[in-house]
Amino acid sequence: MNMPYTIDLPDLLHVEGLSVSYGGETVVQNASFALKKGQALALIGESGSGKSTIAKAVLGLLPETARTAGRISFKDRNLLELSDRVFRPLRGRSIGFVPQDPQNALNPVRTIGAHAHESARLLDLSGRTAERTAIFETLELVGLSEPERIYRSYPHELSGGMLQRVLIGLAVLPRPEVIVADEPTSALDVTIQKRILDLLSRLRSSLDLSLLLITHDLALAAERADSVVVLKGGEVQETGPSSRVFLKPSSDYTRKLQNDVPSLNPFRFRTAERRANAGEGTGDPFIRVQSVSRIFDTGDRQVRAVDDVSFSLQSGRTHALVGESGSGKTTLARLLLGLDTPDSGAITVNGQRVHGRSTSALRDLRRDLQLVYQNPFTSLDPTWKVKSIVREPLDRYAIGSRQERDERVHEAISAVGLSEDLLRRRPAALSGGQRQRVAIARALTLRPKMLVLDEPTSALDVTVQAGIVEALFALQERFGLTYLFVSHDLSLVRQVADTVSVLRHGRLIEQGPVDQIFENPAEPYTRLLLESIPAANAAQSAAAQPGYARLSLVKTA
């Protein structure tokens, strides 16, 4: 699957000194790199570093407001100089595109078939039936076993993974020479992500494609690409063969990136001491969930979102809920907070039952039990200033004097590592990472005993994620907090949790101390989840990275 990295293949796509600016703002500066025939090149970098802009430049899809300089050579033509009319025949036929977000990449009012015919037309086949045959073949090629049904479906009738396959199919259908894939899996589950990436690799070798892969995940880039280009703020930090960049990063930025990838540093937050007394712990559990079920009635059928789940959690520890999307993690968290009522089973917090209480009793309970939402962009009221947001719970519970409240706000803000001058801003003027810290600060001002963290970092970059996780652990140390950590990112869970529950379709699959689960998964499903973690090229990095060796052990076990 992995081609040896060779220098003497011809360049198919050559970017030289590319600069792109919008208005006065230059977002890509003097970028140069080359993609060789049949090879995969990864562009990595944090959000806003200009990755998509480069992809659009290659596809000739930059908006009219963009100004470009430099050269993008494709088969000896400078793509930047072609008019739209001349460029059009290249699109699809020579350069294919796989977009980032499969849900929005297909016209919702047209069937998959209608889309596919647009691509199939580029093959210049003799008629619609011939096109159909080609389409069905391609759909099967990308692993969609019922091509007729897919052909007739509308985009919203398919799952994200299926859509991403469809999109890959549409891209490869006209047999292009290069495929530009802009974060093709970042919107998908780990398990699906792996399948999609495997598919791309397979197609690349069987169809002799070159791949320009855009991602923000260094591990993924190292695992899937022959060479890597690291971008920051529109400038290229370093380029080189992926194994070299990955193992011996030459720029500080890449080193930092490498350091922040959880899968490469499984013990970053869990000291040896902590790991030593991992496990269930002793004494009365702070939280006890007993055979809880929640069934949703969606009109035409019932969804067992949570199905007979039990676990308990000691004070001061971190328990993780993992599972693919839709496995019932959020539902369980909401049940715990009393935002939803279970159909059966019981939940107690600190010995008190959560459900069947009056509103005010529930309110008292919640003082000790706070939630940090998955998406910091929707959980803060856009019309409020940060200071009022953080103060809101204090005001609501009428805690202390005015001055004490102010002090607590400042305390909480600095505890999450934000500077005071943000207090006067509104959420719109904050970055995603800053917002999530504000949300955590807000949850902390009441000095709760426990935080429920529902995928607190899944909407954020790896670097930002690392910062937030770091802050959370510092807080746990300081205040002895108890965490329920919900995530689908197993490598992150491994970094943070003491114990873990694996959920699937609402059912508990496996449960235990985190190291035990990761090193000795009893269930095939858990194993499959673990295998999906992108972890660079195992063989090459085993020696250099101890944590890595463990992962590869898991894989081969």
Partner: protein, 335 residues
């Protein structure tokens, strides 16, 4: 299949709701009209030419039941309304249903032609707004809808008549139902509506052009026309269905002014006459008829919309993005 029965259930519920709304509109109008003390008969007969004394008028008022308490009158009117009896016009002594039915076709013709004008103009504007190169005045063209929304409808009407009827003699206002006169009345009535539709349509087209799937479609090397037709225009035009439904109300209301200016008789002039003589049964009938038309058209729009927009066909499904995805990649396993 379950969602088909859902759909039928939904349709029945909406229909019932519509009937309630129409009956409420009738009641509501009745109550509003009865705010002012006095009654139409007195106002009609106390014309100074007649020299009547109130005693002369009393039996007539009693004949029409206008001396009864308001709630009793409402009850009588409502119980007639539910069996479809709209009563007799106080002014012209003709059955209201006949009056309304004979006025309706003319207004419907006007409103539908206005709608046609509005759609044609709006779609042309929208098309030009996307495909006319900026140097040929695309910017000006985009200002047009907002500008024409600011012009009172009667100005447009007066202007059209003065120019086309009297200067160019293209139509005679004495035969307002002729093709040309109807066409110009439809233009006067349709322009504000077309401006609204054009505004939404242009905004939607711009919005679609910024959608991810638009640039993805572009990356498949589609021609300009294919792009416009399938990926920009088609999704943009769906909300127009809802707009058309809402515009019906505006067209019916606007017919008051247009009919008055163009000398057409229809619902608008009927209600205007009725209002000036407090012809209660006619006012109530026209208002509830307008409400009925509006409600029915909107009902149809609501029911048709899911058929046009595939996303809404499975509205209540809940999100289970990956439940039907095979867990294990069969192909990968096979290899």
């Amino acid at each position: 299949m379950n969602h088909r029965s859902n759909y039928i259930g939904y349709a029945i519920a909406r229909l019932a709701q519509s009937i309630v709304v129409i009956a409420l509109a009738y009641t509501f109008t009745f109550l509003i009209i009865n705010v002012l003390p006095g009654d139409p008969i007195t106002n009609m007969l106390l014309d100074p030419e007649n020299g009547f004394s109130p005693a002369d008028i009393e039996p007539i008022i009693a004949y029409y039941g206008l001396d009864k308490p308001v709630l009793e009158q409402l009850w009588i009117a409502l119980s007639r309304f539910v069996v479809g009896d709209l009563g007799i016009s106080l002014r012209s002594n003709l059955p209201v249903s006949g009056l309304v039915l004979s006025a309706l076709p003319s207004t419907l013709v006007l409103a539908l032609s206005a709608l046609a004008v509005a759609l044609v103009v709006a779609f042309l504007l929208a098309f030009a707004s996307q495909n006319l190169p900026p140097r040929y005045g695309q910017g000006l063209l985009r200002l047009l809808p907002a500008a024409s929304l600011s012009v009172p409808a009667f100005i447009i009407g007066i202007f059209l008549i003065q120019i086309f009827a009297f200067q160019f003699g293209l139509f005679r206002i004495t035969s307002p139902n002729s093709f040309a006169a109807t066409a110009f009345a439809a233009i006067a009535l349709g322009i504000p509506v077309s401006a609204q539709i054009a505004e939404v349509l242009i905004a939607n087209l711009d919005h679609e052009a910024r959608q991810e799937y638009f640039s993805v479609a572009r990356s498949r090397g589609l021609s300009r026309f294919e792009l416009f037709a399938h990926h920009q225009f088609r999704p943009s035009s769906l909300p127009v269905v809802t707009m058309i439904a809402l515009a019906i109300g505006e067209l019916l209301g606007g017919s008051l002014i247009t009919e008055s200016i163009f000398g057409r008789t229809g619902i608008g002039s009927l209600v205007q006459g009725a209002v000036s003589s407090q012809d209660y049964p006619v006012i109530q009938a026209v208002v509830s008829l307008a409400a009925a038309v509006f409600v029915i058209v909107n009902l149809i729009a609501d029911l048709v919309y899911p058929l046009l927009d595939p996303r809404l066909r499975t509205r209540n499904r809940g999100r289970e993005p990956l439940a039907d995805e095979p867990l294990v990649d069969t192909e990968a396993v096979a290899k």
